[in-house]
């Protein structure tokens, strides 16, 4: 067991955790912002796929990282807008519409990959760009921490910034306040003149934005190509992470960290022929437990009975 423990507590493992966590944290933040507005966006899987694809395609076509970044972000926002349109205007159930969008993304990305690049599985034939790794000058010299924290892809640092951005947005801007109000009591928001539909649409577009960065990271950082189904369920894990984290910035970050750690651990264990399945189950079981606890708490607040001997106020 010793070599295993040593490798788990090594700096390389720490580095791997942050690397793996990046494409989980972005969509988790996306789920969180949509949940706070009362319209949960479970189309992160599809959003990330589309943005991963768009990033690769645009960077190969234009040779510009920035344009690809912008295009990817726009695609994410568009996905959120489409979901918003179908749910808010056409009254589609938000869960079913999101499932349909996920399907759409899975199909259309391969479809267009084939049309535009002639390949059905992977875009490695294309010269797509990659976001750069960043070595932070002072930090990287620190013995253990340096290995863990320095040398990541710029988008990994971006994910950390995204948590901050999320926090600022939700708690320090008027839009964030309105999003939270709309999610807690849409009637109250409406009574002070807030357009509930528009606020929800904005929340969905923001969630698409966060998700887009996860997708861009996958195809332009984690690896440097687009491949079929490359999101591999991360969009669904994002829902778990957001739920486990109570849809709050710090909680979502820690939950994503947990999922990331478990994923990284699973990769290590697999190479050592140790069953990783139980480890991989842990975050999901934890989410179910957390969900149950949150729900039970909410329920207890609602029911209030007189205890024996208590008199009426």
């Amino acid at each position: 067991m010793n070599p295993l423990l040593r490798s788990i507590f090594s700096a390389q493992f720490g580095y791997a955790v942050f690397r793996v966590m990046t494409p989980l944290l972005f969509p988790a933040l996306g789920v969180a912002v949509s949940h706070l507005a009362g319209t949960i966006n479970i189309a992160m899987e599809g959003t990330m796929l589309i943005c991963a694809f768009v990033g690769v395609m645009v960077s190969a076509a234009t040779g510009s990282l920035l344009i690809a970044l912008a295009a990817g972000m726009a695609a994410g926002v568009a996905m959120g807008a489409v979901l918003g349109y179908f749910h808010l205007r056409l009254k589609a159930d938000i869960i079913l519409a999101a499932i349909a969008l996920n399907m759409f993304a899975a199909g259309s990305t391969i479809f267009f990959l084939f049309i535009l690049a002639g390949d059905k599985g992977i875009s490695s034939g294309l010269k797509s760009l990659v976001f750069p790794q960043v070595n932070i000058p002072l930090i990287r010299s620190i013995p253990v921490l340096g290995t863990i924290l320095s040398g990541h892809n710029v988008l990994t640092y971006g994910a950390g910034l995204a948590v901050l951005l999320f926090y600022l947005l939700i708690f320090k801007t008027p839009l964030g306040l309105r999003i939270r109000a709309v999610g807690q009591n849409p009637d109250a928001a409406q009574s002070v003149g807030i357009n509930v539909v528009r606020t929800r649409m904005q929340a969905l577009m923001l969630s698409g934005f966060f998700g887009s960065l996860g997708g861009l990271y996958l195809s332009m950082g984690y690896v440097s190509w687009f491949a079929r189904d490359m999101t591999a369920g991360r969009g669904w894990i994002a829902i778990a992470a957001s739920t486990l984290g109570g849809h709050m910035p710090l909680g979502t970050f820690l939950a994503s960290l947990l999922f990331g750690a478990v994923n990284a651990l699973a990769i290590y264990l697999a190479s050592l022929q140790i069953p990783s399945e139980f480890i991989q189950m842990i975050p999901y079981v934890a989410t179910v437990i957390a969900l149950t606890v949150y729900s039970a708490q909410a329920l207890r607040k609602k029911t209030r009975k007189l205890k024996a001997g208590e008199t009426l106020p």
Partner: protein, 354 residues
């Protein structure tokens, strides 16, 4: 005419959505293919043009029917449990473990294996159900999470306890012949599981529309307050509907293993649970319509495969089309203006005013 439209409005809306999907597919084919006519023929007619393709369509429909039925029962009770995938996977894994470890004549082996798989699936559906009934925990999130737990659990079970080491890739031991569902048409892989799928669709139809429990499920979904008011034990229905979901999905997964693969070889989750959601939506949670929807979906899939094989259009187009169809179907407001105008005209004709 207009009265007819109003009565069957939802059905008509579904058909229109499908038509739009087909039209879009035609459009895409013309846009992309160098031989659009040939491609179109391959897509639309391909599944009918050969025995193996046609039977392929039927085989594909089989597990989808089971999952569609599973989802439909839960959705009819307004329980948004999307855990058919997990129940299917775990059920099939546990069933395989049982089949591979036991020896008995087929007349016992087949039903018992199916029973074990169904029971495992049912137990899996129970968890989100009880969490919802007891603590109002969202069955959507819990069933989604449990899909993963089921996947890892099933994978562990097979890969570490029932793995066929001689096989070269990660699969279970082969099922003993006594646990096979026989294929009955040479040249095809049609197996009795497909017959079971149709039979179960009829059974579920009967269950939902001709039994007291089915009535309870439907009324709970229609109006939970009304159901409770009338005396129905709504909490029991919340749990039961999800247990049935798991049962049907587990059973269906096992028929697929016993009829086609004869081994548990799903290293990735096969996705029938998601297809089940698609056909439940298209079929509006009605078992008989789900049969049609499942064949339709299978038709699209196989058509797409033929298209892919014979022409330059990738089969993913089918996924795109099917997602478009679902989006249109779930958009309640889709065509609602039309229905509203007809309703108003009818009311006016009836003499104006209530």
């Amino acid at each position: 005419m207009e009265k007819f439209i109003l009565r069957y409005f939802n059905l008509i809306r579904t058909i229109i959505a499908i038509l739009i999907g087909v039209i879009v597919s035609v459009f895409l084919i013309f846009l992309i293919s160098r031989e659009p006519g040939f491609s179109l023929r391959s897509f639309l007619l391909g599944p009918f043009l050969s025995r193996s393709r046609f039977s392929n369509m039927v085989e594909t429909a089989s597990p989808i029917i089971f999952c569609g039925l599973a989802i439909a029962v839960a959705f009819q009770a307004k329980q948004f449990n999307i855990g058919a995938e997990g129940s299917l996977y775990l059920g099939a894994a546990v069933g395989t473990a049982f089949a591979v470890s036991t020896r008995m004549p087929a007349v016992f082996h087949i039903p018992l294996t199916l029973l074990v798989a169904a029971a495992a699936g049912a137990a899996w559906g129970f968890i989100p159900g009880i969490l919802k009934a007891r603590w109002k925990a969202s069955e959507l999130v819990s069933s989604l999470m449990l899909n993963y737990v089921a996947y890892y659990g099933g994978l562990y079970l097979i890969n570490f306890h029932f793995r066929d080491k001689g096989a070269g890739y990660l699969v279970s031991h082969q099922l003993p012949q006594s646990a096979w569902l026989q294929q009955f048409l040479s040249g095809t892989r049609l197996h009795w599981g497909i017959v079971l799928a149709i039979v179960f669709a009829l059974l579920v139809y009967y269950f939902l529309y001709h039994t007291t429990t089915g009535y309870e499920i439907r009324m709970t979904g229609q109006n939970e307050h009304f159901a409770r008011f009338g005396g129905i034990n709504v909490l029991r229905i919340v749990v039961l509907s999800q247990v049935i979901l798991g049962l049907l999905a587990g059973f269906g997964g096992m028929t697929e293993v016993m009829g086609i693969h004869r081994r548990f070889n799903w290293q990735m989750s096969p996705g029938y649970g998601w297809d089940g959601i698609v056909v439940a939506i298209i079929g509006r949670n009605h078992p008989l319509l789900i049969i049609a929807a499942s064949f339709f979906l299978a038709y699209l899939r196989v058509g797409g495969q033929v298209l892919n094989l014979m022409s330059d259009v990738p089969w993913e187009m089918v996924t795109v089309i099917q997602s478009l169809i679902i989006l249109l179907i779930t958009a309640e407001a889709f065509l609602s203006q039309w229905r509203y105008r007809i309703t108003v005209r009818q009311a006016e004709r009836a003499g104006g005013g209530a």
